[in-house]
Every structure is written in structure tokens, then in C-alpha cells.
């Protein structure tokens, strides 16, 4: 029984086979040229060191918010820096807004960078410039006359709600306000692409929501494409259309956020997903569950109802056909990108073989079944 519990269900039986990179949906509708196309990016920092990027390919469509999620050291920071060539990949191709970035000379690269806004985790504002002067900085660099700079700053300040703080210095602002300045600065030269490097990681949850709402709002208003990296799956759930999961320099899974959340194929992805839509079962509740009878096992699982079979009476059918009893520990409805799905924590009781069979059957119906580890619950 301990063996069964320790093993995720998907790793058992014919379902255990998973391709190295799970493509959930056709990644490029190829109707319009991609805003960003990265192909075969490889980067190694020290010779002989580990690969920061290991043959990474992905494309970001115009107008979408694309998230890259991974733990620190997964390579996502290097990846986003390869888009505007703050880091140069050792090999691969980088096409951004029609530019073959790696083929540009210095002047060409600077011009291309002016069309790409970037927002940083630690804001990276000039401490000795006021809010207005910070926002004007990219325009100053581009050689815009002072009058035009002032006009553009006046135009963009209301977009981020900072009209009243134009003359404040960064040190006088809250974290959320600083990031608003960062966003305003990134958008000052009217870029079509916004790169967000852990833009909300230094902010508290409430401010994070505020900033994410702002990014979503600006995307719609300014017709932006957004590529963001984060270590928080909640950020992906809140604003991304598509997501790529990175681990050890590789993209291990990518697709529509709803698909990745409801049908994660990789263990790392499942862990990320469970952070956000965890089983929500308090430890005490699990401790109070009845023990399995003689010859029986108890298996705690977290089942995600999404897709065509999500409205079927799956549990009662499984109970009837496999002779397994289910104890519903918790259940709720959640929503991603406006699509609802159900999350349920179940305790299955019965003969070990029958429990496994019942849960595998559920999985074959397209429901994501993830074990809940009892000691980790």
C-alpha cells in the first residue's frame, strides 16, 4: 500500500508513457506571424557548466500573454533575456517582431530594443530621477525633444494611475507604485511587446493582483503582446493565455493555461498546478478519515473535472463498476481564463487492485487524478 501511495498514478500502467515535451494544443495557429519565435536556444554560462538553456523552442503569438514558469535556476530568466539579447544564446534563433535579432548590428539591436518594453522584479528605477523623469528616460535615450517627452509622460501617467506622483522620487513610493512606474517606463516608447521579468515577485499578494490587472488591462488597450516569467503559478493562472513550464534549462510542457492546469503531464507541472489549485484538504480532516478495513486500501486523490467527461456521473459509476467506495473530502469549482473546472479530493476505499483500476479508468476519461500524499497533506 505504501508503494501504491508513493507512486503517482500516471507513472503506472500504459498511461505512464509521456512524451518528453507535452504539446497540449497546436502551438502556432500560424495565421499571423509570431511576435516571438525562439528556436533551439542553447546557452551555457561557464564552459563545462550546466546548460542554462537546453534546446528551447517556443513561439508567442501577437496579442497573447505568454507565461514561462519554473523554479529559480530553471533557465527562465536567461530565456527572457535572450529575447532582447541582454544575454546572447550560444546557439539558436531569435526572431522578435520580424527582426532576426542575432543578425542585427549594434545600432540595429538598439533600435529593436526600443520596440520592446521590459519590466523588472526589482523595478530598476533611477533613484535620483523623479517618476516623470524615469518614465521619460527611454524617450531621452531615443533622442526625443523635451517637449515631446513631457507630452508623452503626461499621456502615460494616467494609464498607470500615477498622475499625482509625477514629481516623487522612487524612494517615496510603495512597491506597487514603483512597479507602475516601471511599467509606464517600459511602455513610454510605445512598444508592441512587453517582457516581464518576475514583475510581481517582490510585491505582496494584493499588490500583485493589482499589477497583474494593470498588465491585462494595458494589453487590451495598447494591443500588446506580453511575455512574462514567474515562479508563481498563480500569476500564470491569473493572466496568461498560454504557458511553458521550464525545468533544468528545458521547456518540459507547454500549451493553453487551461489545458496545462487541468491536464498536467509532467510531475513538475503537477506540483506547480497543485500550488494554485491544491486539494484544499486540511491535515486534520485527513487524520479523521476512517481507516481502511482488512484487505482494503485507502487512496487519497485529487481529481480535476474538465473536458467533455467532466459532467458525467463519474464517481457513482466508478463505485458501481469497480466496487470501490468513495469518500468525498472536498470539492469546488474553479475557473481559468473564464473556463470552469471542478476540483475534488477523494478518499477511495477497496481492494488495492480495484482502487487502482477505478482511478485509472477515471484518468482514461480525461480527468486528472493526482495522489495526495498523506504525510505531506
Amino acid at each position: 500500500m505504501a508503494g501504491l501511495l508513493a507512486r503517482p498514478l500516471v507513472a503506472a500502467g500504459p498511461l505512464g508513457h509521456t512524451p518528453p515535451i507535452m504539446q497540449h494544443a497546436p502551438s502556432s495557429p500560424s495565421a499571423s506571424p509570431a511576435a516571438i519565435t525562439l528556436a533551439g536556444l542553447t546557452k551555457r554560462y561557464a564552459s563545462g557548466g550546466t546548460l542554462a538553456l537546453d534546446d528551447v523552442s517556443l513561439s508567442v503569438q501577437p496579442g497573447e500573454i505568454f507565461g514561462i514558469v519554473g523554479r529559480s535556476g530553471a533557465g527562465k530568466s536567461t530565456l527572457i533575456r535572450c529575447v532582447n539579447l541582454l544575454e546572447r544564446p550560444d546557439a539558436g534563433q531569435v526572431r522578435v517582431l520580424g527582426h532576426d535579432m542575432l543578425a542585427l548590428d549594434d545600432a540595429g539591436l538598439r533600435a529593436a530594443r526600443r520596440g520592446i518594453g521590459m519590466v523588472f522584479q526589482h523595478f530598476n528605477l533611477h533613484s535620483r530621477r523623479t517618476v516623470a523623469e524615469n518614465i521619460a528616460f527611454p524617450l531621452e535615450i531615443a533622442g526625443l525633444p523635451a517637449a515631446e517627452r513631457r507630452a508623452r509622460v503626461a499621456e502615460i501617467l494616467p494609464l498607470v494611475g500615477l498622475e499625482a506622483r509625477a514629481k516623487a522620487y522612487p524612494a517615496q513610493l510603495s512597491g506597487g507604485q514603483k512597479q507602475r512606474v516601471g511599467i509606464a517606463r517600459a511602455l513610454a516608447s510605445r512598444p508592441r511587446l512587453l517582457l516581464c521579468d518576475e514583475a510581481t515577485s517582490a510585491l505582496d499578494p494584493e499588490t500583485t493582483e493589482e499589477i497583474l490587472a494593470l498588465i491585462r488591462d494595458l494589453r487590451a488597450r495598447l494591443d500588446l503582446t506580453v511575455l512574462l516569467i514567474t515562479h508563481e503559478m498563480a500569476v500564470v493562472k491569473a493572466i496568461c493565455d498560454r504557458v511553458a513550464v521550464m525545468e533544468a534549462g528545458r521547456v518540459i510542457e507547454q500549451g493553453r493555461v487551461f489545458d496545462v492546469f487541468t491536464q498536467p503531464s509532467q510531475p513538475t507541472t503537477r506540483r506547480f498546478v497543485s500550488e494554485v489549485i491544491g486539494h484544499g484538504v486540511p491535515e486534520g480532516t485527513i487524520a479523521r478519515l476512517p481507516e481502511p478495513g482488512p484487505g482494503e486500501t485507502r487512496y487519497l486523490a485529487h481529481v480535476l473535472f474538465a473536458g467533455p467527461n467532466s459532467t458525467r456521473a463519474v464517481i457513482s459509476q466508478a463505485s458501481r463498476e469497480f466496487g470501490v467506495d468513495f469518500n468525498i473530502v472536498s470539492g469546488r469549482i474553479d475557473e481559468i481564463s473564464g473556463e470552469p473546472f471542478g476540483v475534488m479530493a477523494l478518499a477511495a476505499y477497496g481492494e488495492p487492485a480495484k482502487v487502482t483500476a477505478a482511478l485509472l479508468w477515471m484518468q482514461q476519461l480525461g480527468l486528472a487524478v493526482t495522489p495526495i500524499e498523506e504525510d505531506a497533506a
Binding site: N124, R128, F137, E140
Partner: protein, 220 residues
């Protein structure tokens, strides 16, 4: 106050001016040379904006060599150079040359440290916006480091005051020299005390001014 004869007053005043001239001129020269040198060291350092070991290493070595030579030795060691630059190897003007040289090396390091204090993220942001290297230096690096640069200059000026006391060895004059010649060699403790008090007041004033300027300029 019998010691404070009109002649002594004149001597003190003259020494005071000599100190001011020596320190003032060598500060101006050392800032003017030290800052570009510091920028060169910063920019060419490994991982810098234009890493270049062929420039960074020799310049770093030169700066270190100058800094590790005791000032009194530096002063006599470079007499031929001083004569070339100042036209003479004795007097206040001649003392400015070794003072400026020592302070330049000192400041180059202090300035380099101040530049390193600038948050790398701000520079990265400027790169991401398409800034040229020159724009990064003139619009980001130096403005952001300004309070640190001024604090470093204040430290250097105070050190120069102390170095300038040694200028007496080559006839440079100044308060320190007066203190040695009259206070010590002619047994006039009052002169020594006056010199020391004047120097303390001068240093205090300069330090306070430097601190005030730093506070005014930084918005942290």
C-alpha cells in the same frame, strides 16, 4: 598671546593659503583624471560594459602601484616628472604634482567602488531600452553614482590635507609644514596647537559640507 606677532599672523595666513591651494588644485586635477580612470576600470572590468583585460589589468596595476607607494617616497621619487610638469621641483606648485598623482590613484579606486555601488539592474534596464554605452555612462552610471562620488571626493580631500603636511619636505609650505618648523623645531607649542586646530576645523567643515551635499543629492 605674545607668540602671535604680526609676522606669525602673516606666516599662518600664508600657510593657510598654501594648504588651500595645494589641496584645492590637487583635488581638481585628481577628480578630473581619477573619474575617467575609474570609468575605464569599471567599464573594462570582467563582466563590465566592455570587458577588456588588456586595458583593465595594466591600469589597475598602475593605480595599485601608486597607492602602495608611501607619499613621502612618491614625492621624491617623481621629482624629475614634477620638474617636467611644474617647471620646478620645489615650492607649492611643485608639491601639487605628487599630491595630485597620489590622490588620482586613491580616487580612481574610491570612484570605481562608488560606480560599483550602482544597482546593476538600473544599467540592465537602460541596456534593454536600447541605450548606447556612452548614454549608460553619462545618463545612468555617473548620475546614479553621484552621491557616492562626492562622498569619495570628501574622503580624498581630507586625506590630501594630511598628505599636504608632508609637502614641507620639498618646500611646499602649508599649515603642516609651519607646524613642524615652528611648533616642533622652534619649540612653539602654541603654533603647533593653532595649526592643528585650524586643520581640524578645516577638515570638519569640508566633511560636513560633503555630507550635506551627499544628503541633498541622494534620494534614497
Amino acid at each position: 598671546m605674545s607668540w602671535l606677532t604680526p609676522t606669525m599672523q602673516e606666516l599662518l595666513l600664508e600657510a593657510f593659503w598654501e594648504t588651500l591651494i595645494m589641496v584645492g588644485a590637487s583635488t581638481v586635477i585628481s577628480v578630473a583624471i581619477g573619474l575617467p580612470l575609474a570609468l575605464l576600470l569599471y567599464v573594462t572590468a570582467p563582466g563590465g560594459l566592455s570587458p577588456n583585460g588588456w586595458i583593465n589589468r595594466p591600469v589597475g596595476l598602475l593605480v595599485n602601484a601608486l597607492r602602495s607607494t608611501p607619499f613621502i617616497i612618491l614625492m621624491v621619487a617623481i621629482i624629475p616628472f614634477t620638474r617636467l610638469v611644474a617647471g620646478t621641483s620645489i615650492g607649492t606648485t611643485a608639491a601639487i604634482v605628487p599630491l595630485a598623482l597620489a590622490a588620482t590613484a586613491f580616487l580612481a579606486r574610491l570612484f570605481e567602488n562608488a560606480l560599483r555601488e550602482v544597482e546593476p539592474g538600473v544599467i540592465e534596464a537602460a541596456r534593454a531600452m536600447g541605450a548606447t554605452r556612452l548614454q549608460i555612462v553619462t545618463k545612468v552610471l555617473v548620475p546614479e553614482a553621484l552621491p557616492g562620488l562626492i562622498a569619495a571626493t570628501t574622503v580624498a580631500v581630507v586625506s590630501l590635507m594630511s598628505f599636504s603636511a608632508m609637502a614641507g619636505a620639498i618646500g611646499g609650505g602649508g599649515l603642516g609644514d609651519l607646524g613642524i618648523r615652528f611648533g616642533y623645531q622652534r619649540f612653539m607649542p602654541e603654533v603647533m596647537a593653532t595649526v592643528v586646530i585650524l586643520l581640524i576645523l578645516l577638515v570638519q567643515g569640508l566633511q560636513s559640507f560633503g555630507d550635506w551635499l551627499v544628503r541633498r543629492l541622494s534620494h534614497r
